[in-house]
């Protein structure tokens, strides 16, 4: 299978990425991380440039590595902004570091006058496989009692879309629509990989993909993700389709070639060529997939309700599953005198961070430690930090979240089970 497939796809994907960094600027401007300062902007420039190079196929290998590093770095600055689709892009670019995708239609080939090579089938397949994993795990995660039997959280989200034209005040308010969309979404996620893999159902599946993602884009503020997924699913089509699409581009490029009177590269004589680093890459890619397959399952290692404690929730393709809100304030107490005061979160966090912190245990603990060391530096003695935290999950009444008797400074940050989170009082069954 020709790599042209991937070329096209990257083109579209990068196009979408151009928009994303712009979006990042705005909220990084607000970010409380100031130590990176102006360097953050440079990082975005690097990230954007490398993505441009990837799209053109110029110095592909080094570009994708830089892209992977810069993009992931940006994401790692602040987990407040964690989104599954950013993680997806990081993973994908990591995967692409090991795939020799710079062949047909790439500048690398043009400049070195090399003939375009066929890429090994496994490289394309690995990307397909990755997409399948995502969809499948996302579907699996939807098999839970809240999603299927309470239509939660869709029955909270959809009615609030009353301001949409036509469907807003009619369909979106209907209970059966919430259930239809819950079940539909679950089946879509579980089945779409197979529909895309099967040649016969592929074009229908693609229509479904477009419909599903455009629809979710209309309903929810999910940025570029739907477009990325739509374009990425093109990879399932065979190369004929891609050539067709690309021929439109070719007309344009041919025109430029004539104008600039550039010599045409050696023509498309398809030569099989063994890529030397294959075995090494293959090994890493296999490891990557093992990791991808196991990581989402880590939540089973933890006791307690996953949606409540969120242990193993991130990096697991659990998307749009929970509507969670919290309110958490911290009490700084002097263990000797017993005197205490509450912290005004606004002194330390942006509103967005405060929102994310209020219901996610790892945020709460990290912030508690931050407060502890902050007030320690300010000269407070015998500091204990307690959280007064209430969280509401999927429309349930809010309940106390953190055990208010436990000094959070005694709890170390680790991957171990959070014993200081109070148990969930209801039950959610399923994955």
């Amino acid at each position: 299978m020709l790599i042209s497939v991937v070329r096209f796809w990257i083109n579209g994907w990068i196009k979408s990425l151009y928009i994303e960094p712009k979006f990042h600027f705005t909220y990084y401007g607000f970010s409380w991380i100031k130590d990176l300062g102006d360097f953050t902007y440079i990082l975005f420039v690097i990230c954007g440039l490398s993505s441009l190079f990837i799209a053109l196929g110029y110095k592909y290998r080094i570009s994708i590595i830089i892209f992977f590093l810069s993009f992931s770095y940006i994401e790692l600055i602040d987990k407040t902004t964690y989104l599954n689709h950013y993680y997806f892009i990081s993973c994908l670019s990591f995967l692409m570091c090991f795939l020799p995708l710079n062949s047909t239609y790439s500048l690398d080939n043009y400049l070195s006058n090399k003939s375009p090579t066929k890429v090994p089938k496994w490289t394309i397949d690995s990307i397909k496989f990755f997409v399948c994993i995502i969809y499948f795990y996302a579907g699996l995660a939807k098999i839970n009692s809240d999603w299927l039997f309470k239509a939660m959280p869709l029955s909270i989200w959809l009615p609030s879309k009353y301001d949409l034209p036509i469907i807003g005040n009619s369909l979106m308010q209907q209970e059966w629509v919430h259930y239809l969309m819950s079940w539909g979404g679950m089946f879509y996620d579980l089945l779409i990989p197979f529909l895309l893999l099967n040649k016969k159902t592929r074009s229908y599946a693609f229509v479904l993909v477009v419909f599903f993602h455009v629809f979710t884009r209309v309903l929810f503020p999910i940025g570029m993700f739907p477009y990325i997924m739509i374009i990425i699913s093109l990879i399932f089509f065979d190369n004929k389709t891609h050539h067709k699409i690309l021929s439109y581009f070719k007309i344009i490029t041919d025109y430029f070639r004539k104008v600039l009177s550039l010599p045409l590269p050696l023509n498309l004589t398809l030569k099989e060529k063994k890529l030397s680093s294959n075995n090494y890459s293959l090994f890493i890619v296999l490891l990557f997939f093992l990791f991808q397959l196991l990581l989402p399952l880590r939540s089973f290692l933890y006791p307690g309700e996953l949606f409540w404690k969120e242990q193993g929730y991130r990096f697991s393709w659990r998307v749009m599953l929970i509507e969670k809100m919290g309110y958490t304030v911290f009490k700084i107490k002097n263990s000797v005198t017993g005197s205490y005061f509450y912290v005004d979160n606004q002194d330390f966090l942006t509103p967005f961070q405060e929102k994310q912190m209020s219901f996610q245990p790892d945020f709460i603990l990290e912030y508690a430690h931050h407060l502890g060391s902050h007030f320690g530096k300010m000269g407070h003695q015998n500091i204990e930090v307690y959280a007064d935290s209430h969280v509401s999950l999927n429309g349930r009444r809010s309940a106390r979240f953190v055990n208010q008797e436990i000094d959070l400074l005694t709890q170390k940050r680790s991957l171990k089970n959070y014993s200081w989170i109070l148990p969930f009082t209801d039950e959610i069954n399923g994955f």
Partner: protein
């Protein structure tokens, strides 16, 4: 072949969905002791017509009620009180004696109480001109006031002067200059030889006049802003329904809970800060003002038309929550919030009229009051916002 497959898929969707709504309907049927579940279609219409009522919540009429029966009338009422206060201050300047001073003091308290009903309306023009910040930032910066007085500062538009104007500044000027009335009056009668005038009177007039001017601006603007306010029913960060909900909760949390109770009680500082109490110089009205603010909050929440004790309640938060809230065991969310308002009122009532005395005697009661008030913050910020699914004022960011 693949067509069949698609059809099959659609069929699967359909069957599962209708099965699912069956389950739902059956639950309801048990309650209604209906047994006829033979026709699937019939059941579906049942459930959709039940849910169909849900579409009928008229946000525009809620906003209209807010504007016409709550916001505008209370602002006009306040404007009137402010007018009276300003006139009495002008009178006090003409004839400076005990009687005119007492009249000013009385009108100050009346206006201050009326103010408690409108501080939460930080939207539109009020937000634009920092109205609440120019009317009621306390503690007053008394040193800066003294400086403004002695330097005969005329222009108090600088944000640094926000803590030198409004009610807290009047509090200082009318009660804080001296605890003895005779002595205080002397401050207003001593003529500054350099300008043949009284500096305190001069500043008192400036502050009062500015308050009236700002109030007029806001009231006049509502005449045109009303229609914009009412029309903005969509669910976005800037729609009036969302903004106002945020303002309301923010006021409860900050203006009421923190400023009036929490900060003086030392909730955020460890030690008590009695000088942060509202009306610190007047002393014995901090409780009265807090209760007035809570009354305003409660009335707004249940939709009690302003200044009208007889007519029925209109549509407000209570109804909005009830409309969205799916059945939960026992007491409804709106009831829970109202119950918490009641408990807060009870608890404030137990405090001393003068919060500074209360803090001297027993700060624990004030801390307990704070905790009771706090509970409604959780109910509103977490449960209520989730129930009505209104975005809080966070930065706009993608979700996934």
């Amino acid at each position: 072949m693949f067509r069949k497959f698609i059809l099959l898929l659609l069929l699967v969707f359909f069957v599962t969905c209708s099965k699912d709504s069956d389950n739902l309907v059956e639950d309801d049927l048990v309650e209604n002791s209906l047994t006829d579940s033979s026709s699937e279609n019939g059941n579906e219409t049942d459930s959709s017509s039940e849910a169909g009522n849900k579409t009928n919540f008229n946000r525009e009429s809620m906003l209209t009620f807010w504007a016409d029966s709550l916001i505008i009338p209370s602002q006009i009422k306040f404007e009137k009180e402010m007018q009276i206060l300003d006139e009495s201050i002008i009178e006090f300047a003409k004839t400076t004696n005990k009687e005119s001073l007492n009249s000013v003091r009385l009108n100050w308290l009346k206006a201050y109480k009326a103010w408690q009903h409108i501080e939460m309306f930080n939207i539109g023009k009020a937000e634009e001109i920092y109205y609440p910040f120019r009317m009621n930032i306390y503690p007053v910066n008394s040193a800066r006031v003294e400086n403004n007085v002695s330097k005969r500062i005329e222009n108090i538009e600088n944000p640094n002067d926000y803590s030198c104007q409004g009610f807290p500044a009047l509090d200082y000027l009318l009660f804080g200059l001296n605890s003895d009335q005779e002595e205080l009056l002397k401050k207003y009668t001593t003529v500054d030889p350099s300008n043949d005038n009284n500096n305190y009177m001069n500043y008192l007039l400036i502050v009062s006049n500015k308050m009236l001017e700002l109030t007029n601006t806001v009231v006049i603007d509502w005449q045109t802003y009303r229609n914009t306010f009412i029309a903005s029913t969509e669910n976005t960060m800037t729609s009036s329904i969302n903004k106002f909900t945020n303002d309301f909760i923010y006021y409860y949390e900050k203006g009421f809970r923190a400023n009036k109770i929490g900060i003086p009680a030392g909730v955020f500082s460890g030690g008590v800060l009695p000088d942060r109490a509202e009306a610190y110089y007047k002393k014995n009205v901090s409780k009265e003002l807090s209760l007035e603010a809570l009354k305003a909050i409660t009335n707004f929440f249940i939709g009690k038309p302003f200044g009208d004790n007889n007519s029925e309640t209109g549509i407000s938060f209570k109804h909005y929550i009830e409309f969205f809230e799916t059945k939960k065991d026992g007491i409804s969310l709106a009831e829970l919030i109202l119950k918490q308002f009641d408990l807060s009122k009870e608890s404030i009532n137990k405090l001393n009229d003068d919060f500074t005395i209360q803090l001297d005697n027993n700060k624990m009661d004030m801390l307990i009051t704070y905790d009771i008030i706090q509970k409604a913050v959780v109910l509103m910020k977490v449960d209520m916002l989730q129930a009505i699914n209104i975005n809080v004022d966070y930065q706009d960011a993608d979700g996934d």
